[in-house]
């Protein structure tokens, strides 16, 4: 499903060049559950952004569903992102003026899905994350865990094949973190690729595959259990 071959990502900082990723090779198959770990600044987020097509590699080949996506135009990349990829961020990134239901519907609104269909899907997704009765609340009226669940609902509403979560529990207490994690894992059970970046070893252990990045290179890549 995902194939990275010799992916490099360099940042020019003044005179210097920061090598955030150095010749990364990685394949991910459908339905995999991967934890990406490593010290701060090792390149975990950068890797996730490249997989999510938010960032472009400096060098290397990136195949998504056997299609080379490194050379796509902005429009094409946008539609791949829209249809294939769901993001979950550490800081939720909900639109503060929109209600939970509207935040969840946002990807469909941008994609031009008809309102009745949107409503149907939002209702279904809200039930799945257990926030059916909070649909009209704005983000500031929700707890951190609830906000992250809304963000997950938004990521899953377009029925993507990949969900990328960058420290999704980083801003949550352990109880809410567990809830969020369970919802993400349930999605993975349905066959969606789940890639979670985390500093939490406990979460790292739950994933079936654990990748450790150090200084922009994969140090270890182990299947667990």
């Amino acid at each position: 499903m995902i194939r990275l071959e010799g992916i490099c990502r360099d940042f020019a900082v003044g005179e210097q060049t920061v090598h955030a990723l150095r010749r990364i090779n990685l394949s991910v198959h459908s339905g995999e559950y991967i934890a990406v770990m490593g010290p701060s600044g090792s390149g975990k987020s950068t890797l996730l952004n490249i997989i999510g097509l938010l960032d472009r590699p400096t060098a290397g080949v990136f195949l998504l569903a056997d299609q080379d996506v490194t050379g796509l135009s902005d429009n094409e990349i946008a539609s791949v992102r829209r249809d294939q990829i769901g993001f979950v961020f550490q800081f939720f990134h909900l639109v503060p003026r929109l209600s939970a239901a509207e935040n969840i519907a946002l990807p469909m609104t941008l994609a031009g899905v008809q309102p009745t269909e949107r409503k149907r899907r939002v209702t279904a997704v809200l039930a799945e994350i257990g926030l059916a009765e909070r649909s009209h609340h704005r983000p500031d009226q929700l707890s951190g865990g609830q906000r992250q669940r809304v963000a997950i609902a938004r990521a899953m509403v377009m029925e993507p094949s990949i969900i990328l979560a960058d420290e999704p529990t980083g801003n949550l207490d352990s109880k809410s973190g567990q809830d969020v994690l369970r919802i993400l894992e349930r999605l993975n059970d349905q066959g969606i690729i789940l890639i979670i970046v985390t500093h939490n070893a406990e979460i790292g252990d739950r994933a079936r595959r654990s990748i450790r990045i150090v200084d922009g290179a994969i140090e270890s890549d182990v299947q667990q259990r």
Binding site: L54, A78, S79, R81, D83, F89, H93, L98, L110
Partner: protein, 401 residues
């Protein structure tokens, strides 16, 4: 994206930033209102003048003694007096085909007195046609009635102010007044005039033209007003008058004929230019509003960096983000323009109420131009911030907390 969703999204984000929305609406509204009010004033002034003229007949010709245009040759000698334009000349004009009315005018100052009350007044010697040509309103009695214009009937019509000063509260009709060396009877008093054309009609005394000529001991008329039967016969009649006078004056082309239309057209042109100029100045206010919109939209882009990054992560292509921000700017300027339009029309209405004589009101072109310019500036100045938003790098946009 569905159009209604674009509108809903735009409205929601405008509602989300109330102060900024309100400020931009005010700026745009002021610009549009300024255009509307100023053009309404300019247009009102133009129409006021036009109304004054056309109420007095757009097909009016004015015959003056003397030549105003030179057709080459040596300039006229200094002090050369023009030939007389006599009462007989004026009466002869009546026989021309296109002429409906002829009002000869003789003008001069004289003392008027009743008993010990005395003042100097402007005397207008004319005939009964003058009332129709100038559309004078009679307050009391009747207008001059001289079936034979050469007769020296000793009668006069007073302006309201003259009547008040001479007679106070007592009845003026039928009383005799002294005009210079002569006496005449008051047969009427003018009413308050609608179309004064700047002449203080309250302060004049009207007498039969022959009476005035004798009073001033003059041969020549001040001018002759000729009302043509219809507008399309003005040119032809103008020529007819010239020919007739030339024939009567031994082949000398020694009168000037002015069409009132020409005078009106000049006024019209000047005032219209003035209106355009004023509207142009007001349009600068609109442009300023446009720049303000650009500024505030740029701030909005900075404020909403994370949101823009999110939209990109959710699969919005650059042009969709451009479109969303441009429609925000457009919605702002359109709403501002509509508010400004309402304020401007209200302002014009209040001015029209305050000065009921002047037909104040913005012309349709000004309304459309103001709306159009507002929308255009809004969109134009909205494009730059929108493109900046569309170009944002989603990674750095999202990484900021």
């Amino acid at each position: 994206m569905i159009v209604t969703d674009v509108i809903a999204f735009t409205v929601r984000s405008l509602q989300g930033f109330r102060l900024r929305t309100a400020l931009m609406l005010v700026a745009m509204a002021i610009g549009v209102a300024a255009v509307i009010v100023l053009t309404a004033l300019g247009e009102g002034a133009r129409r006021f003048v036009a109304d004054q003229f056309s109420a007095l007949g757009t097909h009016l010709l004015i015959v003056l003694p003397g030549r105003s245009e030179t057709t080459g040759g040596p300039p006229p000698l200094l002090g050369e007096t023009p030939r007389n334009l006599t009462l007989d000349d004026a009466l002869a004009l009546r026989r021309l085909a296109g002429v409906r009315r002829v009002a000869p005018i003789s003008l001069g100052n004289a003392d008027i007195s009743v008993g010990r009350r005395q003042r100097e007044v402007l005397i207008v010697g004319t005939n009964e046609e003058y009332q129709h040509v100038r559309q004078l309103l009679i307050g009391q009695g009747r207008f001059l009635a001289t079936p034979d214009p050469r007769r020296l009937s000793p009668e006069c019509v007073l302006g309201t102010e003259v009547r008040r000063e001479l007679f106070g509260p007592t009845l003026a009709l039928g009383r005799w007044v002294r005009l210079g060396e002569r006496r005449c009877r008051v047969v009427g008093v003018l009413g308050t005039q609608q179309h004064s054309l700047g002449v203080a009609m309250d302060e004049i005394v009207l007498v039969p033209v022959a009476f005035a000529l004798t009073l001033f001991n003059k041969e020549s008329l001040f001018r002759v007003l000729v009302e043509v039967r219809s507008r399309d016969r003005v040119k032809q009649t103008e020529q007819g008058i010239r020919d007739l006078i030339r024939a009567r004056h031994d082949g000398e082309d020694d009168v000037t004929v002015i069409a009132q239309d020409a005078v009106l057209a000049t006024f019209d042109k000047v005032l219209r230019a003035l209106t355009f100029a004023v509207a142009g100045i007001a349009a600068i206010a609109l442009a300023v509003a446009g720049v303000l919109i650009m500024n505030v939209m740029l701030i909005a882009v900075t404020q909403r960096t994370a949101e823009i990054g999110l939209l990109k992560a959710l699969g919005a292509p650059a042009r969709q983000i451009t479109m969303l921000f441009v429609s925000e700017a457009a919605a702002l300027s359109l709403t501002g323009a509509v508010v400004g339009l309402a304020v401007g029309q209200l302002g014009s209405w209040i001015m029209a109420r305050t000065y009921p004589d002047v037909p104040i009101g913005a012309p349709a072109w000004a309304v459309w131009a103001a709306l159009g310019v507002a929308l255009a500036t809004g969109i134009l100045f909205g494009i730059l911030p929108a493109r900046r938003a569309a170009r944002l790098d989603p990674v750095s946009a999202l990484s900021r907390r």
